[in-house]
């Protein structure tokens, strides 16, 4: 299963990259939302099965990124990383088609459980 992680926070990016790879996922993690979009658009590469994205990032908002992701790959599930006080934003994100969210500071075990939910059927245990 291939996962895209995008967050402007290097701690999150590094931690997720390491933990998810260890769990056997193929991970592409980046600090740069534009790079994330380029990677998504690259048709030569195998498509992503899941996207984990921060909802607030400087220079491109999570919402803008979400809209862009939905345009490029409308069926890929998206889990958002957000702060608790961003209820409005989370609601908007759901309207735009996000599937799920986790709250900062992230609990990795919870995130993994949520990821399992979006695994393609044949991989689920």
């Amino acid at each position: 299963m291939k996962i895209l992680v995008v967050d402007d926070d290097p701690v999150i990016v590094k931690a997720l990259e390491s933990r998810l790879s260890r769990e056997g996922f193929e991970v592409f993690a980046t600090l740069n939302p534009n790079e994330a979009v380029t990677e998504l658009k690259d048709e030569e590469k195998e498509p992503f099965d899941l996207i984990i994205s921060d909802i607030v990032m400087p220079y491109i908002s999570g919402i803008e990124l979400l809209t862009e992701i939905k345009r490029v790959t409308p069926h890929t599930p998206i889990i958002l990383i957000s702060a608790l006080d961003q209820k409005e934003l989370i609601l908007t994100a759901f309207e735009l088609g996000a599937q799920d969210f986790v709250v900062k500071p992230i609990n990795l075990d919870e995130l993994l459980l949520r990821i399992t939910k979006y695994m393609p059927r044949e991989e689920s245990k």
């Binding site: 402007d8 926070d9 290097p10 701690v11 590094k14 931690a15 390491s18 933990r19 260890r22 607030v56 400087p58 702060a83 900062k104 500071p105 609990n107 990795l108 059927r121």
Partner: protein, 621 residues
């Protein structure tokens, strides 16, 4: 399948054993709005077919049973769970509806009582001012009428709140000393105007042995008597008579048993109606409502209140000849309280060493309320200087710029409310300003409102309409306390708040253990990335601050907030004060008050603590 018997089944079992898509389509149809049975559906799937079961669950089935594994226990268990689930959902829904209704009612009552109190505050205040201006004896009587009626109206507004409290069984009597004879005489005075208007005879018969001072709930007693007197007046024609009787029928060492009776010569009540007149919303006759008005709540509330006093409200009546309502209750005689005659004035305590004026800032948006408060204060003492701010924002600005001894703060105001303004004063102003005494003046008399005021950092609370002697007492109290603190205070070091906050600032990197999942190298890598990244972000926020770029400032702040969160400082007030983004409306204003120098000191400390831990742990690996 035709489904015309909705809501008649508790559980549906649907066989999807054909592993084609038709089975699932049937389920979809089954669960769609048009075909919905209104009951949980369990599907049966074919041998070896778990996939269809999963898909059915996603489509809304409550459970699935594999035909290959099914037995009677599994089936019963599945059905039982489905039933419980159904009941549970119905319960949850009912609970939600009930909670919503109760909440709406509470909100409605709170806002109603606020809306009604605001204009009434003006009436009561104006009457007080009128009384203090020059006037004739005749005019004094009018003023008295104004004062008493507006006070009783205030009591009635409080009654509106009572109805809901009674319904939820939340009403409780107070036990406070009061002057029984004064309560009764005041009532007679109040009704003497009404009886003259209606050309009724009003009589009193008070037992000479009535105790003067008793302990109990004067407001509730008053409320019952007012309800009964109102009724008596309402149902008696001109030329008739109304009498209030109070008689001591028994005495023990501590208590007096007193019988109150209100007798009228009005229309009376038909015998068959006597029983039901104490029910809510019931009057003797439907035509009564048309003729005499009223809600039919008064007697019901009164009976309930008398019950709380330990008595019972009774009625005797001969149809066409009048009625007598009465109740008997025990009141504790008060031997200790010394009542301060009203004439005795509360003096502005001369707490200040020099003979300076006491400077008060009144933060209030309502013109009339401003006028009343200013006049009250000026009449009280000529040593008071009052300054006005029209909203919370202006209030904070004035406190920042000028010196005041005290702030009187309204709560509901445009631009910025009193709670926010108080929080700002308490958190963003320098030490010599932030502890200024603040008294809330609010039309919300609810306890929750009072708690909010204290939580915001106010020193005291007074509800409108303002009881002037209470206000004066509270002003004296907070001024005295403030003065004592000043005198008793130990001289503080130059930057006390920064130093105190630094001593409580302790970086905790336990979250990194969680992130690294037991991998020490990864933990170090993660901490290192904070050490690399944090100074860059701090530089960014510094630039944004110096360029007064509010948007950029809070953008960087958002990220810093989560970084400080990782290192165990999520709850640090010193950090949150700067980094938590206020609402859009207030952010420019908050930005002006950001103590960035202080923040720099704090972040430097945080960085150095992380650095220390990093090098210590790195060595030990």
């Amino acid at each position: 399948m035709e489904i015309d018997e909705k809501d008649k089944f508790d559980v549906a079992l649907l066989d999807l054993s054909l592993t084609d898509s038709r089975g699932l389509k049937t389920l979809e149809k089954f669960l769609s709005k048009e075909g919905y049975l209104g009951c949980p559906t369990i599907v049966l799937t074919g041998y070896e077919d778990e996939k269809t079961g999963f898909e059915a669950l996603q489509k809304g089935a409550v459970d699935y049973l594999n035909k290959g594994k099914i037995n009677s226990y599994l089936l019963v268990k599945s059905i039982l769970y489905a039933c419980i689930r159904k009941d549970n959902q119905a319960l949850l829904k009912a609970k939600e509806v009930a909670e919503n209704t109760a909440e709406m009612k509470q909100r409605f009552l709170a806002s109603m009582s606020h809306e009604l109190r605001t204009p009434l505050n003006v009436v009561i205040g104006t009457a007080s001012l009128l009384e203090q201006s020059e006037h004739t004896q005749q005019q004094q009587k009018y003023i008295d009428a104004l004062k008493i009626t507006s006070q009783s109206l205030l009591g009635l507004i409080n009654n509106i709140l009572d109805v809901s409290k009674i319904e939820s069984g939340k009403i409780e009597l107070e036990n406070k000393p009061f002057e029984l004879t004064k309560v009764l005489e005041d009532l007679m005075q109040l009704y003497s105007f009404k009886s003259k208007d209606k050309k009724l005879g009003l009589y009193k018969k008070f037992d000479l042995s009535l105790p003067n001072y008793v302990i109990g709930d004067s407001l509730r007693l008053n409320q019952v008597l007012i309800n009964l007197l109102d009724n008596a007046m309402k149902f008696t024609e001109s030329g008739g008579e109304v009498e209030l009787k109070a008689k001591v029928i028994d005495e023990t060492e501590d208590t007096s048993t007193i019988c109150f009776q209100i007798t009228d010569s009005g229309i009376g009540i038909a015998p068959e109606k006597l029983e039901s007149i104490f029910d809510s919303f019931v009057q003797a006759d439907e035509s009564t409502t048309r003729l005499y008005g009223g809600t039919g709540l008064g007697l019901s509330i009164s009976q309930h209140l008398v019950g709380l006093f330990g008595g019972q409200l009774s009625v005797e009546s001969e149809y066409g000849k009048g009625a007598t309502f009465g109740f008997t209750i025990d009141l504790i005689r008060d031997k200790e309280t010394v009542f301060i005659p009203i004439e005795e004035k509360v003096e502005l305590s001369s707490v200040r060493a020099n003979d300076d004026y006491t400077k008060i800032l009144l933060v209030e948006d309502h013109d009339f309320n401003q006028m009343i408060a200013i006049q009250l204060l000026k009449n009280w003492s000529n040593k008071i200087e009052v300054d006005i701010a029209h909203n919370g924002k202006e209030g904070v600005e004035k406190v920042t710029k000028n010196y005041y001894d005290l702030v009187l703060m309204d709560i509901a105001m445009p631009e910025m409310d009193g709670l926010t303004a108080t929080k700002m004063i308490r958190t963003t102003l320098p030490d010599n300003k932030k502890n200024i005494p603040i008294i809330a003046m609010t039309a919300h008399a609810l306890k929750t409102e009072m708690e909010k005021c204290f939580a915001a950092g106010m020193n005291d609370f007074i509800s409108k309409p303002i009881d002037q002697s209470l206000l004066f007492k509270k002003i004296n109290k907070v001024l005295n306390l403030a003065e004592e603190e000043k005198k008793g205070g130990i001289p503080k070091p130059a930057e006390p708040s920064a130093i105190n906050e630094l001593s409580g600032l302790k970086v905790d990197l336990v979250y990194f253990d969680h992130l690294a999942c037991g991998d020490p190298d990864l933990k170090m890598t993660l901490i290192k990335s904070v050490l690399d990244d944090l100074p860059i972000e701090l530089e960014k926020i510094k630039v944004a601050y110096s360029e007064e770029n509010v948007e950029e400032f809070y953008k960087v702040a958002h990220k810093l907030k989560s970084t400080f969160g990782y290192v165990g400082l999520k709850e640090s007030p010193a950090i949150n004060k700067v980094l938590v983004r206020p609402t859009e409306r207030e952010e420019k204003f908050y930005f002006e008050f950001v103590d960035f120098e202080h923040f720099k000191v704090i972040s430097k400390e945080v960085l150095s603590q992380i650095n220390d831990i990093y090098f210590k742990e790195n060595k030990s690996i």
